[in-house]
């Protein structure tokens, strides 16, 4: 599994997205553990996730404020309501007035139904957290929604000629433009996932200009191990095995693994059009549990990037 992932764990802000179910959160957690193991104060953030996955990985609940789960590593889940309150407070700076505004029925309804308002304050909160850490990793929603969320500051810049929202949008766009603010797309060796990855990259380049996308991660990749001879023998035996027998099932298991390798080759070939390095991550047994998967992913990334780390507390 070759490929340098240091642009990810050496970033200041790292956005992680991809099609639903590709293992975004595991990758975000693994990069976080790798950075933390190298002594960087790291925070992994889920964005208003009603069903957060980080607690499943780290065995500790997340809240709006970061919780330390390992040395140098904290996790949190940014809900939009407290983020909004913090943002309003940063502008009016009087707790009592903030509460008055937030309690106003018209204001709260307006903010609830104005699409984009939530996204903007959550991005703002991410930026504030980034000021307190060496690396903030943002586990974004699935790709379609992530693009919409990331493009909100650009829309806000068009809508607001001046004022606090404009300043907030400007600050976020400045963050996007920094070379150490990066985004990584996570893909799987499956045709539909590759389609969506290519489409998302196109949308990001069109709608969220200025964001650095250094590489693509191909998660659950199976490098080629079947020889030509093994493949042809597998086909010959399949032709002879009666369906529904133990023999057919065993051959099916072999075909399953051969198919994963073939799909990995196809995905790597199709992702070449991105003109970016594609780093393969191993296919791990999810039977081991979410935490062990992140340890193994982090170890694989460290090896591939030539970094020596010891995952304390990593089981």
């Amino acid at each position: 599994m070759a490929g340098d992932t240091s642009p990810l764990f050496r970033a200041r802000v790292l956005f992680v997205t991809g099609k639903g179910g590709v293992g975004k959160t595991s990758v975000a957690a693994a990069v976080g553990r790798l950075a933390a193991a190298q002594g960087r104060r790291t925070l992994v953030v889920e964005v208003d996730n009603q069903h957060p996955t980080l607690p499943v990985i780290f065995g500790k609940p997340t809240a709006y404020e970061p919780t330390e789960v390992e040395p140098n590593l904290s996790i949190c889940n940014i809900a939009w309501a407290p983020a909004l309150e913090d943002w309003v407070e940063s502008i009016v700076s009087m707790r009592r007035l903030v509460r008055l505004i937030m309690k106003n029925r018209v204001v709260s309804l307006f903010l609830q139904v104005t699409p984009g308002a939530r996204d903007l304050v959550m991005l703002w909160r991410t930026l504030q957290l980034a000021k307190r850490a060496d690396l903030v990793i943002v586990d974004l929603p699935a790709s379609g929604n992530a693009v919409a969320m990331l493009s909100v500051p650009l829309t806000a810049e068009r809508l607001f000629p001046a004022g606090p929202i404009r300043r907030c949008a400007d600050e976020l766009l400045e963050m996007y433009a920094r070379s150490d603010t990066r985004l990584v797309l996570v893909a799987l060796p499956e045709e539909m996932v590759v389609n969506e990855t290519l489409e998302t990259l196109h949308k990001l380049e069109r709608d969220v200009r200025g964001l650095t996308i250094p590489l693509i991660l191909l998660n659950r990749a199976s490098p080629p191990t079947f020889t030509e001879g093994e493949r042809s023998l597998l086909s010959a035996l399949e032709a002879e095995a009666p369906p529904g027998t133990a023999m057919a099932e065993v051959l099916g298991a072999g075909r399953w693994e051969e198919g994963l390798e073939a799909a990995t080759g196809d995905a790597l070939a199709r992702l070449e059009v991105t003109h970016r390095p594609v780093v393969s991550l191993p296919s791990l047994s999810r039977a081991d549990g979410a935490r062990k998967v992140t340890t193994q992913l982090a170890a694989a990334m460290a090896r591939a990037s030539g970094v020596r780390v010891d995952f304390r507390g990593g089981t």
Partner: protein, 371 residues
């Protein structure tokens, strides 16, 4: 309710679940099953990504309904539509605006343009609009709705109620009054006490220009409120109707099963008619690994002497991995089945050898779902 009965009797089936579990393919497959049952079926996806086109083997489907060509022996019809939020919003305005001037004024309002196009969340609002249209049109006997991954699926379920609350006349009146009487949103002498303070602070935060835009946006929408509210209330009633069923789709992975459990709880709490659970992409192993050398060692060596040894070793290991995975997944499905209770029909669909992205593989999937 069995899926076979569901596709034959229901008017609306809503598929929910986390991303990457085959929700869209399940939705497309249920619509195909409806067509096989002789019905005119439509599959509607509000997923911002173009998954439906993928699973139907099409390169592109737009905001209009497309008929998918089926073999002649299928008695019903299969239609598909993918929601494109901005043009749907424009369609709705065209329908409810009382004249061309109002319509053009809305199209040109900066707030409208940003809400209709760039901001996330508009898909959820407008999905209910499009759903309302197709349900009202009477063109389809069965509509299958595919929802976006978990977070937005809930937004989508909440959207009608939230919008209806927002468009509540009393609240709108409070928002609109200063605009109507003073021609400006703030500084109204009629506003007093905390409301005046709040509005002044809002002006400070959003800027007076933006608030002017907002005020004219609401003024333009004033005449559309009743129409919007009726449409959304109708969709909400439809969700709770006896001829609507919710289907939770899950893959047998830890996160997906958790999300499925979450949906079971949420749907119940909301009084929505949950009817079936589809455990998708499940690995199966029915046999214990035989002694491969004894069973076909000789045959393999005869066919390919050099590859026989390595392949047999590999097959044995692969089958053990498959069996481990299958038993783990079976335990997860069983736990979810217990949580769902006896009233929810559980369908286990094996992982298919190839990805589902054409009609032939959809038909294979539909045989697993319907039997």
């Amino acid at each position: 309710m069995k899926l076979s009965a569901m596709v034959a009797q229901q008017q609306l089936i809503v598929c929910v679940g986390s991303g990457g579990v085959g929700k869209t393919t399940t939705a497309a497959s249920l619509a195909l099953a409806g067509a096989y049952a002789g019905r005119r079926a439509l599959v509607l996806t509000i997923d911002p990504a173009r998954r439906l086109a993928n699973s139907l083997g099409l390169t592109e489907i737009g905001n209009t309904e497309h008929r998918i060509a089926l073999p002649p022996e299928v008695p019903g019809e299969l239609w598909a539509m993918m929601l494109d939020a901005p043009s749907t919003f424009d369609d709705v305005i065209r329908k409810v605006a009382r004249d061309d001037a109002t319509r053009e004024a809305i199209y040109n309002n900066r707030i409208y343009r940003s809400i209709a196009g760039s901001f996330s969340g508009s898909q959820e609002y407008m999905a209910t609009e499009r759903l309302f249209d197709v349900m009202q049109s009477g063109r389809y006997e069965l509509v299958i709705l595919d929802t976006p991954p978990v977070k937005n699926a809930l937004d989508f379920l909440d959207a009608p109620g939230r919008l209806a609350r927002f468009l509540d006349k009393q609240i709108m009146k409070r928002l609109l009054t200063p605009h109507d009487e003073d021609g400006g949103f703030f500084g109204s002498r009629l506003l007093a006490g905390t409301t005046a303070v709040v509005y002044r602070l809002l002006g400070h935060i959003f800027g007076d220009e933006f608030l002017g835009d907002i005020a004219s946006f609401f003024a333009l929408f004033k005449d559309l409120y009743d129409g919007f509210r009726e449409r959304h209330e109708s969709v909400e009633r439809t969700f709770k109707d006896a001829r609507t069923s919710f289907v939770v789709v899950a893959a047998p992975t830890e996160p997906s099963m958790e999300v499925a459990g979450f949906f079971l709880t949420e749907l119940r709490a909301r009084g929505l008619p949950l009817a079936a659970l589809v455990a998708n992409q499940v690995h199966r192993a029915s046999f214990t690994t035989p002694n491969l050398e004894a069973v076909f060692g000789a045959r393999a060596r005869a066919l390919h002497p050099a590859a026989a040894g390595p392949l047999l070793a590999r097959l044995g290991a692969a089958h053990l991995r498959l069996a481990d995975l299958a038993s783990l997944e079976a335990r997860r499905v069983e736990a979810l089945r217990r949580q769902a209770g006896p009233s929810v029909d559980v369908h286990v669909v094996p992982r298919l050898a190839t990805e589902v992205h054409d009609l032939a593989s959809l038909a294979a999937l539909h045989r697993f779902l319907i039997g």
